[in-house]
Symmetry: C2
Subunit: 312 residues, 2 copies
């Protein structure tokens, strides 16, 4: 018999969905409160939760063998002061479709001039300004992992060209042209929309720097759904303020919540979305967990295992 | 040798693109002005233009054999006082992708609560409200022609269910469930987003009436990219005003430009887009025309021929 502790803001949803999955030899305690969860489930060998709660619970679970995060991002778990004597798995695969909804919702907001039309409407003015179209535009993906691959598929559906900037991978067939290493500015020069999807690692920190931002065309829009530290935020804010860019859609920041003093609240054509681009819906997360639990129970390797050294 | 008169707001673009197409035995006169065009090209056997200009020029072209419209909508040509002694073709096939951008841009605006997030941003508030998702939602198509078929494909890409209301057709494989005839309210009850794509004919007039609007779920959003007369506009305005609907995106109206006295300017959660959902980009139109001209020149049947009796 395995014992699992679930620590999330939606303990009832998780308990119901895990019960419905009818997993063998599994007892579950679920709570939104770490202390309450530990009091009732401190002897658990499996932990499922969001990074903040998992980090708080980690030192108090002597029998821990496996932790399944409910997020894609794993940075809090990489803190060198934390234990690493357990298997850590994260969520991959389910965020691609949600990220696609987010990214293309905002791309179409720009192309269709939705806000300008709304201004006309408020003035009771029949606005026949011709819209733009995504067809023929170029989407530039910084990182082509599972999320980037899904975005590339959606871009192709809308008739866009897709450029990808990766360390070395050329695995995604929906990418028309790949760039690597020193090709950063050549990559930036050719894109209409730049979408950052890479995780936060030592290699990606400030990858989108002043030089890369400066190479973007003046109509380009920067969309960050990866991690704030991948971008030189000061350089981006300056470019937006000077209107050297078409705009930005920023879901993530180096400091969250975004401080009230941040320039991004008021830079032109900027959309701030509070780290909501691809939420962890319990049904999706339990689907990934249930598949992994069956592997765990059968003694097979788990999916989406995080390499503590590599950082993802 | 054939002689063609082109009457559009973009005569230079059309002239350049038609010249580039290098069509055999074709001389072209292009103008934005009907009188000017007739003065120079009154002996033309081919006419290409938008419905308003075409209607004005029709009585003055004694040698007319074929008219290619630059629009999908053909109503002005159906006026019983106008001649019908020529072949009329319209544009089909190129508007589906543009309509898809329009419809899904607004669907995502609703699901992602874009305007509410923008309000938070204006108050410098970090808004972590969870978004909705299109996945699992039901798109209801009133009419599943070439545009509806394209919308169904995009809906499937985003993981939506698709219901279709048609006279009898069941041709589109991306439609999960079909409804016909008296099933109008059963159809309406099951949809989250209702998209109207049918042409304006005697059969579609006020098809979306008070009964059908009343059967929609209270969160449903109505999107009209067909023709204004397909909807009972008074009933729709009343439902929106009473917030018995989630909202509306209205590109077309029975009277255009929309009169300044229309209630739609101020009904809640309503977006007015000035008949811009799928503009006729000259490159697309010339592509359709060039294909048809080669058929005409070879004596083959033309594509997208309009049946004056049927009305589309």
């Amino acid at each position: 018999m395995h014992q699992m502790l679930v620590l999330t803001p939606q303990p009832d949803d998780y308990l119901r969905l895990i019960t419905e999955a009818a997993l063998p030899d599994l007892q579950v305690v679920a709570s939104a409160d770490v202390a309450d969860g530990l009091a009732r489930g401190g002897h658990s060998d499996i932990l499922l939760g969001d990074p903040t709660r998992v980090k708080a619970a980690l030192p108090h679970l002597p029998q821990l063998v496996w932790t399944q995060l409910t997020w894609a991002g794993v940075e809090p778990m990489l803190d060198p002061s934390l234990r690493r004597d357990y298997v850590l798995t994260n969520i991959r695969g389910v965020f691609g479709p949600l990220m696609s909804e987010f990214v293309f919702g905002y791309l179409l907001l720009f192309e269709r001039q939705v806000l300008a039309r709304l201004e006309s409407q408020r003035a009771h003015r029949w606005d026949t300004t011709l819209p733009g179209t995504l067809r023929g535009r170029t989407l530039g993906l910084v990182g082509v992992g599972s999320i980037g691959t899904h975005l590339a598929g959606t871009a192709r559906h809308f008739g866009m060209r897709v450029h990808g900037y990766t360390r070395s991978s050329r695995a995604c067939a929906d990418v028309d042209q790949y760039f690597h290493g020193e090709d950063r500015t050549a990559f930036a020069r050719g894109v209409d929309y730049l979408v950052i999807t890479v995780p936060n690692t030592s290699e990606t920190r400030a990858l989108v720097d002043a030089e890369m931002i400066g190479a973007l065309p003046p109509h380009a829009v920067v969309i960050n759904v990866g991690r704030g530290r991948t971008v030189d935020e000061a350089a981006l804010a300056e470019a937006l303020q000077a209107q050297r860019l078409g705009g930005a859609v920023l879901d993530v920041f180096s400091e969250e919540p975004l401080p009230s003093t941040s320039p991004f609240w008021t830079t032109p054509n900027t959309f701030i979305t509070g780290h909501t681009s691809a939420p962890s819906f319990p049904r999706d997360i339990v689907g990934v967990f249930a598949d992994n639990y069956r592997r765990f129970h059968a003694g097979h390797p788990l999916r989406h295992r995080v390499d503590f050294e590599r950082g993802y």
